[in-house]
């Protein structure tokens, strides 16, 4: 696949949330405020990117060795299991680092994301990329793929969060900067918002519309294997 289309796939036709329907848990849970969605996207994007790069590097490393104790890593009987273990360990370490960064620089946000920040380690989008990554040692490919998926996830999350926060709370919460307090109040809506959209049910309704609309708008049909694999 061409590199440009590889990156684009994650954002459009292979969008993890809207098209492939993985990572729905955070997409419904942490999209009540735009700022939560933003941080969640940053977390998933960075963990995904770094995990893939690490795995590619690892596969280069083990190819360099001809024999020895790491025979399993190169495709012996226990290779897939070892691969999974390694990938999960890497993802967990990176997630823990993200959590610590969050705690250090945005403690309120860490409280707001709650369990969904540590759960990035087992996020379906991250796990989904472990197996292809284990075989792929081409680092630019890994980078582009991870970028596309991460941006696609961020795009979907921010879209859902914007709709839910505007309609469900009548506000848009961003960073406080200078005289700007961090929250935009929408006149008219903030006094009587449709609070139903702030609940999990409202999140799933928005998610459903996003998935439906992106299927309406997609340029070409999603390959059957891609849909079947994630149903």
């Amino acid at each position: 696949m061409k590199s440009r289309s590889l990156a684009r796939r994650g954002i459009l036709n292979g969008n993890p949330v809207a098209m492939v329907l993985v990572g729905l848990c955070p997409a419904a849970a942490v999209t009540t405020r735009v700022i939560d969605a933003l941080w969640m996207s940053v977390g998933v994007f960075s963990v995904l990117l770094l995990t893939r790069v690490c795995l590619s590097l690892l596969s280069l490393l083990r190819d360099g060795e001809s024999a020895g104790p790491s025979a399993d890593l190169r495709g012996g009987e226990g290779a897939p299991r070892i691969r999974w273990l390694g990938a999960l360990l890497i993802a967990s370490c990176l997630t823990a680092s993200f959590e610590l960064v969050l705690l250090a620089f945005a403690p309120e946000e860490s409280a707001s994301l709650g369990i969904y920040a540590p759960l990035i380690a087992v996020n379906c989008i991250v796990l989904d990329r472990v197996e292809p990554a284990a075989g792929g040692k081409h680092i630019p490919t890994a980078l582009l793929d991870a970028c596309g998926l991460g941006l696609g996830f961020a795009f979907a999350l921010l879209l859902i969060a914007a709709v839910r926060e505007v309609l469900g709370a009548g506000t848009i919460t961003l960073f406080p900067a200078g005289t700007f307090g961090g929250t935009i109040e929408i006149p008219g809506l903030s006094s009587a918002p449709a609070r139903a959209l702030g609940y999990a049910g409202g999140g799933l309704i928005c998610l459903g519309y996003l998935a439906g609309l992106s299927r309406l708008l997609r340029r070409r049909p999603v390959p059957a294997a891609e849909e079947a694999g994630t149903a």
Binding site: A192, R195, A196
Partner: protein, 363 residues
Amino acid sequence: MAEPRPLAVSPAPHVVGLVSSLRLTWTVAGCLLPAAAWGVFLFRVPALEVLGVAAGSALLAELLTSIFTRRVTLGDGSAFVTGLLIGLLMPPGAPLYVPAAASAFAILVVKQTFGGLGRNWMNPTAAGVVFALISWTGGMSQWLPVPGSAEGSAAVAPLEALRAAYAAGARPAGPLAVLSTQGYAWSGLDGRVLGWVNDHLLSWTGMVLPRGTFDLLIGNTAGRIGELSVPLLLLGAAWLLGRSVIRWQVPVAFLSVFCAASIVFGGLPLGRGWFAGGLYFQLFSGSIVLGAFFLATDTVTSPLTDPGRLIYGASLGVLLFFLRYFGALGDGVPLAIVLGNCLVPLIDRLTVLRGRARHREAA
């Protein structure tokens, strides 16, 4: 040789009858008119505004979606009935954006997103009202006093007033006694009618109907626009039943299971023990009659077979019992119906399959 006719495959429900869906919906709308007229008579212009906005918003939403479906379905009347029912389930003092949004949600999200009339798996009316209840709890409890009620008397729907009184710790004999102590002013007509009934009809039984029973029955209390007058609602329901527009199974199972649960378990939450629950207060207040005959009987969202309808009605009764005695969201009827709708595919699966198996055995 003539070609065999192609086999037509269409989504359920496969209702075959002499009446078109057009006549059906307009009959339902007509049967709602007496109760609607009573609500408008009591609350005047505000009630008329709420009804108008709810129906208008539903029609507008239906018109909007016809741009996408390229099929104008305004004429089948279902959008009008949905809007009218949403208006009837609103308190008369609701700010007008509440009925507008509830109707728009019902038509756009619950009905047309799934493909329009006949393809929606959830009752649009009930879902629209639940959406409004969750979103604008304050707006959905803007009650208005009935004309002729004393100055300063509480203008809260009976069920909501009772819930507030129980939450504040009141534990007297019956719901109507609680309301009386809460400053609920019953009409003079109520006193005269109940006095006559107690003296002449019930004196030999030793039963005494408490003040307010008659007001509650004829709907001379604060409440949602269309739920008030039980006799007028029953009149419309009787017409629908007589014309076979609705079947008896759902309302009968719904009401009887709810009544049985109320009598047996209704006293438990208040610490009065078994078989100590009230009946007529629960039956005459809130939108249970409106819901049982006009919402739960919706052909699209109720089961296909008669046993299925009985199961569906019974599960609605159980759900409503829990929502009303332990819930905090309105009077629970729309929510019970929305939850009941989720069970319908399961009920259909069980009952329709069983019917087919029996048929095979017989053959």
